[in-house]
């Protein structure tokens, strides 16, 4: 097969392109037989394609144009009869035309294939670009998801803060009651003391104005001051106790409320638990009996306010679990080497297996809408993890639930 010439399929065809290689040599052999010595085939410009024998210019030689389309693409020259020469020319033209058809079809095919290939390349390029875009989008997406998660987490925290504020409010009500009680009897004692002092000053006047001992005696016994003096010390002692009670409540509240922005400090976990129990006593005592079994613990570096939150959460959860009646909440602490273990065990209703796997998930709650955000345990776990500790839970329906916290001792 001949080589396909370059260029467009609709361009002009040249003899050189149409006759090549073995085709040309076979044609030459055939023409030699038909036209004999002195025959020449030239292109349209007169350049010789082949010549047979002595092909020098011969004045008697005849020449016929070879055409495919309109203009001659070449000439055949021979020292032979007009008839033979024309027959040979016709033959060559037929060969050229068939070759031309093949050439044009091939080139057209190549053009079409090339165009298709380019189109494919473009499509490929477009696909590649869109892939890049999607990749960028995907990366972006990850970032945006992270942002969203951050936003949600922030919202969670603030929601938790507001819930905490609500529980602080509840606590405050309890605290008010706790403080109000001693203040009530202190002020009552103080007004009684006032009346005692008035009686004493009245008797003092008798004492200054009279020298009659028997009259003074009768005035003393009339004013009942013997009983009053007997009552007075216990009155003052009771008031002092009341004031001390208030001072203790305030101290506990300070430990408990020191939640935000605090530095880590050396603290006694047992102390934190006691303060927390005192502060929450008002909310707990109707529902459960709290039993403290606190072992000896080393002081550890921690955020006491945060741990108070965790313990209060666990305690109030345990209280919540007492829905069939009052029960027991046992809080145990112990130390084993470098690890402190804190256990909150209640005799409440327990948690079912499927719920147990989800209780640390944010917003998971079994309470009614408005009764809890479902963040308490999530935040508790966060806090414990921030202390390099871990929190575990085990539960049995109808028997109770135990939360166990393991904290490393940090000095």
């Amino acid at each position: 097969m001949s080589v396909i010439a370059k260029g467009n399929f609709d361009g002009d065809l040249r003899l050189h392109d149409l006759l090549t290689g073995s085709e040309l040599s076979r044609l030459r052999s055939a023409i030699e037989v038909i036209l004999g010595e002195g025959t020449r085939l030239t292109d349209e410009a007169g350049e010789v394609i082949f010549s047979i024998g002595t092909a020098d210019a011969d004045p008697g030689r005849r020449r016929v144009a070879l055409r495919i389309e309109l203009e001659p693409v070449g000439y055949i020259e021979a020292n032979n009869s007009e008839e033979r020469l024309h027959a040979a020319a016709l033959l060559i033209e037929q060969i050229l035309k068939s070759s031309a058809r093949y050439h044009m079809a091939s080139k057209l095919h190549l053009e079409a294939v090339h165009a298709d290939y380019e189109k494919l390349q473009q499509k490929h390029e477009a696909l590649r670009e869109s892939e890049v875009r999607y990749k960028a989008l995907a990366e972006n997406l990850e970032e945006r998801v992270k942002e969203q998660v951050k936003t949600i987490e922030t919202a969670q925290r603030s929601l938790y803060q507001s819930e905490k504020m609500a529980s602080v409010g509840q606590l405050a009500a309890g605290m008010a009651h706790e403080i109000n009680n001693p203040i009530g009897f202190i002020s009552s004692n103080l007004s009684t003391a006032q009346s005692y002092v008035e009686k004493l000053s009245t008797f003092n006047q008798h004492l200054c104005n009279s020298n009659d001992v028997s009259a003074l005696r009768s005035a003393w016994s009339q004013s009942n001051l013997d009983d009053d003096l007997q009552d007075f010390p216990s009155l003052l002692q009771e008031s002092l106790d009341g004031a001390n009670r208030i001072a203790r409540i305030i101290a506990d509240l300070k430990v408990f409320s020191n939640v935000d922005g605090q530095e880590e400090e050396l603290a006694d976990i047992n102390e934190i638990i006691r303060a927390m129990c005192n502060v929450s006593a008002g909310q707990v005592k109707q529902h459960a009996q709290v039993i403290l079994e606190l072992g000896d613990l080393l002081m550890t570096r921690c955020r006491a306010g945060h741990l108070s939150q965790v313990f209060l959460n666990l305690l109030l959860n345990a209280v919540e679990a007492m829905d069939v009646g009052p029960g027991e909440i046992r809080i145990q602490t112990s130390q084993d080497g470098d690890e402190i273990t804190i256990r909150f065990a209640d005799t409440g209703s327990g948690i079912s297996e499927p719920e147990l796997t989800r209780i640390f998930e944010p917003f998971f709650t079994t309470r009614d809408v408005g009764q809890g955000t479902g963040l308490g345990l999530t935040v508790s776990r966060d806090i414990i993890q921030a202390h390099d500790g871990r929190i575990e839970v085990s539960s049995q329906l109808g028997v109770g639930t135990t939360f166990t916290i393991h904290l490393p001792v940090r000095e």
């Binding site: 609709d10 002009d12 309109l70 044009m104 079409a112 298709d116």
Partner: protein
Amino acid sequence: MAELDEKNNKLAIKLVYYGPALSGKTTNLMRLHDLLQPDLKGEIMTLETQNDRTLFFDLLPLGFRAPSGLLVKFKLFTVPGQVAHDGTRKAVLSRTDGVVFVADSQRTQGVNNAESFENLAANAARVGLDFDRLPLVVQFNKRDLRDVLSEEEIKTRWQDTKWPLYFSAAINGNGVNDTFQQLLIDVYKDMDRRYGLQSEHRLKQRDFVTSLMTGSVGSGRACR
């Protein structure tokens, strides 16, 4: 795009018959081959399948010499109409200087005509032709058949377009010449603008057309 070969003093113009399958593009070319009498006329070169369907193209070469001696060569091509040969169709359409869109007048062929015309516009854009400026004549062929759209219907449908509309029965040769003449008139304007046919080659529009029809450049000269 036509190219003026100054070395050989030759202008090659490419014209393409486009249209849906079996609308009569090859028939147009065959009739033109019979009807036209230019100075130079080649044989139709055809590459077809066994079912008379054009596989690659048909080619009819025509030509004449302008008074300046410029050889004006025309290559008339048909495209394969079948949808599958779009790659070939696009390649044939490349570099064209004018198009005859051969539509099939039969009522059943409306969709095929429309799709093929859209394909023409799309392919013209793909091969870099300015479709709005491309000389284009629309020919509704097969007027000899029954159950064809009436001329009124066709005119109404095409009234908002700018392309000249012709009716033909190529099988009998009717309308084939008129369509081609109209295309030559439009192509002449384009060529004259680009190559100064009138000013540089003393080739008038009338002569440009009649030279192909009757080979009468000589008589055109005599008229002056």
